[in-house]
């Protein structure tokens, strides 16, 4: 029925569209390839999710699970078995009809040993997929998995076509409202409205995703009118220039990116909770947000997205207090502080926050040595070899608090109590209960000050005034353009 609403909304908004246009969308990162079921690059979903590819279900702007290729579904009482009722008359861009077998194929492909799907774990719990009829498919899990529905809404679980699957990386073929035209590597990917789209037709003639790495050119391209919309404008500092310009609209939303001061709980002195708390006290979030993000970010007190219903505000747990911090250091046995390295990945937010953090910790006698590095170095040293003291990074995966349950993860947080909570969450099916458990989990890691919790990364949407229907939040990485249209005259 949600669909109906959508249709109504769209219909009601139909008259005020001047005429269909091809939208120039600016992205900072170019995807390495266009197959969302391969690598983990968020840049892939930026382009293809919801536009070229669709899953059984769709995550919408608010992070809710919506019907996708499956218009509705039933869940067995044990929470293990799912029956999906698929949409009819759906055609892949190569003309093949979409049926239950495609679902089976896609998921089996993702689970297979040779699969290079970054989120294989989504498909781990699947024990059986059987095609009941061309438009009905039943999936059985090893146990109840409340997050399963959400997960198969992710880009990694989109439905692909048997014949074209292997070429998706450079010639993606999906069921989405836009079909792939061409990819001028290093410059843009061109999409065109798919005439035979099964769902309500979209307003845009097509879309060009232009890749603009350089933050300066991001601004100039926008100002010079080369770009109609920058869904996630890379630099916050000159946002206000657009805000002051009536020709542009700035929408500041939230991403699923919890920006944290990642702390290596394995090594001294950070294995000492007192030290971690001291750091928590030493951090001045308002200064960080003001200085590094130019005010455009929301402070967080734990590893949880503020716009999630189960979110609780824990920013007050360790208010900025230098004396407290010094006290704790003293009692932890570091009266005159210590030295530590801070390894920073490339993104601007990390680099800037890093410099500020360094000076903030410096105030309580913790002498920080900044080491800037590229992603692969960071992944190599920090993520894989856990060879680091502190780092700053934004965890953009939605609902990823469970990473704290994995003691081999680079935080090195090993806490049975917390593991139990996550286990409960994963197995329990009752909504109320799960909400309680999530809050518990947030509290736990916040109190243990596993990491320094800084702020939720903002999504800075900048587009020409009159452009409607762009996502204002990033619950998952996607620039779903199905609802986008340009109001008034096309300049």
């Amino acid at each position: 029925m949600k669909i109906i609403n959508l249709v109504i909304i769209l219909l009601s908004s139909w008259p005020c569209i001047a005429w269909p246009v091809t939208l120039n969308v600016g992205l900072q990162l170019e995807p390495p390839n266009l197959d969302p079921t391969s690598g983990a690059a968020a840049a892939i979903d930026d382009v293809v999710y919801g536009n070229i590819f669709e899953g059984l279900v769709r995550i919408n702007e608010d992070g809710d699970v919506q019907p996708g290729l499956s218009l509705s579904w039933d869940i067995g009482d044990d929470g293990k078995s799912y029956i999906f009722y698929l949409a009819k008359g759906v055609l892949f861009h190569n003309g093949d009809p979409f049926t239950a077998t495609d679902v089976k194929f896609s998921f089996s492909r993702a689970r297979s040993d040779s699969s290079t799907n970054a989120k294989k774990y989504i498909f781990k719990p699947i024990v059986d997929i059987n095609v009941i009829d061309p438009h009905t498919v039943m999936i059985t899990l090893d146990q109840a998995r409340p997050d399963f529905l959400f997960n198969i809404g992710l880009g990694d679980a989109v439905i692909v076509n048997k014949d074209s699957a292997d070429r998706n990386s450079f010639n993606p073929v999906g069921t989405g409202p836009f079909k792939f035209i061409k990819w001028v590597r290093g410059d843009r990917v061109e999409l065109e409205r798919y005439k035979k789209y099964w769902g309500p037709s979209v307003f845009l003639e097509g879309a060009h995703f232009k890749f603009i790495t350089d933050p300066l050119s991001a601004y100039t391209a926008m100002k010079a009118g080369d770009i109609d919309a920058f869904p996630n404008y890379p630099v916050p500092e000159n946002l206000f220039l657009f805000e002051n310009d009536p020709a542009y609209e700035v929408v500041i939303g939230l991403t699923a990116g919890e920006t944290i001061l990642a702390t290596n709980n394995r090594n001294p002195p950070f294995d000492n909770v007192l030290v971690r708390k001291a750091i928590a006290y030493a951090i001045d979030r308002s200064e960080l947000i003001d200085g590094a993000m130019f005010g455009n970010a929301v402070p967080i007190g734990s590893h949880f997205a503020p716009n999630h219903p189960d979110y609780i505000d824990l920013t007050g747990l360790f208010p900025h207090n230098l004396d407290q911090a010094r006290q704790l250091l003293l009692s932890a046995g570091y009266p005159n502080g210590f030295s530590a390295s801070l390894k920073l990945p490339p993104p601007i937010y990390a680099r800037r926050t890093g410099e500020l953090i360094a000076s903030q910790l410096g105030r309580v006698g913790i002498n920080i040595k900044i080491e800037n590095m590229e992603w692969s170095q960071w992944i190599d040293q920090v993520l894989i070899n856990k060879n680091y003291d502190l780092s700053i990074v934004s965890h953009v995966e939605p609902m990823d608090i469970n990473i704290y349950a994995n003691h081999n993860y680079y935080f090195g947080y090993d806490n049975d109590e917390f593991k139990q909570i996550i286990l409960d969450i994963e197995t329990n099916t009752d909504a109320l209960n799960s909400s309680r458990l999530y809050k518990l989990a947030q509290k736990k890691i916040a109190e243990d000050a596993v990491n320094g919790y800084l702020f939720q990364l903002g999504k800075y949407g900048v587009w020409k005034t009159g452009l409607k229907g762009m996502w204002s939040n990033y619950p998952i990485r996607s620039n779903d353009l199905r609802g986008v249209y340009l109001e008034g005259d096309k300049q």
């Binding site: 170019e30 390495p32 390839n33 391969s38 690598g39 983990a40 690059a41 968020a42 040993d113 040779s114 699969s115 290079t116 799907n117 970054a118 989120k119 294989k120 774990y121 990386s169 450079f170 001028v184 590597r185 290093g186 410059d187 843009r188 232009k210 890749f211 603009i212 790495t213 350089d214 300066l216 050119s217 601004y219 100039t220 391209a221 100002k223 010079a224 009118g225 080369d226 490339p346 590229e374 992603w375 692969s376 170095q377 992944i379 190599d380 993520l383 894989i384 990074v393 965890h395 995966e397 990823d400 990473i403």
Partner: protein, 316 residues
């Protein structure tokens, strides 16, 4: 002539072979795993292993080296790890931007520099000379990326004459592309032009002191005639060298400019590839760049021979 050619060619080949070795070793020691990069912060390990297998990263360095070199010899540079398309194709696409850009920049700089150098040489010590050389000094001193930024600010955001960034692709039409390449070309050309004009000036001055110019003047040629009929070709020899160097420099040196204008050029590709540890691409491009440099110096040598009969007989 033949021996001259042979000598050049052999040294060319040797340089290339050695360079492939150096490059390979260099790349081998670069830490960071392309697969890990592609898998991101929460990639599952067995998927990573599968990918490693798929990319053929599980074999030893020697095998990889020989596969690589033998592959290159018959034009197969392998498949890009990240883009999953033949490296040759990638390079072709990018070269279609970088090479024209380079040539464009080179043309600009020559068109500016040669006359400027000539004029200031002939009008040595005059106001024109001093002002030209002043500009040259300035041109050498301005970092090109910095100049590029100023250009963008002025022409794109203020005057809105040129689009700030991006490259439409040649199928969009020649002049549109030319327009897109203009600002980058200018910002690349300026320092080169500055250098070139200085070289041109000094070499013309040197030539004008040659005895054969005096002979020519004794024939009754005016100073200018003597310079143009007998001086120029001699003066061009050092200029040729610089031009050769500049071509290869520009071809590789575009990295920063390309990213300032976000042009899909070789420079940015290789930069990206280094970041993404798409090492097979890095290897190939670096090799290609080295190759281009070597061949260009080779061509320059041939040009010398074409200009200078003494070299043609190889007795020099």
């Amino acid at each position: 002539m033949i021996s001259f050619l042979l000598k050049k060619i052999t040294s060319l080949i040797i340089t290339l072979l050695v360079s492939t070795g150096v490059i390979f070793i260099l790349i081998e020691v670069v830490p960071g795993d392309p697969v890990a990069f592609m898998m991101g912060l929460s990639g599952s390990t067995d998927a990573a292993d599968a990918l490693r297998l798929e990319l053929g990263l599980n074999v030893g360095p020697w095998d990889r080296y020989f596969d690589w070199v033998s592959g290159m010899v018959n034009g197969n540079f392998g498949i890009s790890y990240t883009y999953r398309v033949p490296v040759v194709e990638l390079i072709r696409e990018r070269a279609l931007v970088s090479v024209p850009l380079t040539i464009y920049a080179l043309l600009l700089s020559t068109v500016i520099a040669i006359p400027a150098g000539l004029i200031s040489a002939t009008r040595r010590g005059s106001l024109v000379d001093t002002s030209f050389m002043g500009f040259a000094q300035l041109g050498v001193a301005i970092p090109n990326f910095w100049f590029a930024i100023l250009l963008v600010l002025f022409f794109s955001t203020t005057l809105k004459l040129f689009s700030a960034s991006g490259f439409p692709g040649w199928d969009a039409g020649f002049f549109i592309c030319l327009k897109a390449l203009t600002l980058p070309a200018i910002s690349l050309a300026l320092p080169q032009a500055a250098i070139l004009s200085r070289v041109m000036r000094s070499s013309v001055l040197d030539v004008m002191n040659e005895d054969y110019i005096r002979t020519a003047r004794a024939k009754g040629l005016s100073k200018k005639q003597a310079l143009f009929r007998h001086g120029l070709r001699n003066a061009m020899i050092p200029v040729l060298t610089i031009l050769g160097l500049q071509f290869s420099f520009l071809l590789a040196g575009g990295i920063i400019i390309e990213s300032v204008f976000s042009l899909p050029g070789l420079g940015r590709l290789v930069f990206q590839s280094i970041i993404q540890r798409d090492l097979i691409v890095v290897k190939s491009i670096v090799t290609l760049l080295v190759f281009s440099v070597v061949t260009i110096t080779f061509i320059v040598d041939l040009l010398y021979a074409a200009v200078d009969p003494r070299l043609r007989e190889g007795n020099s």
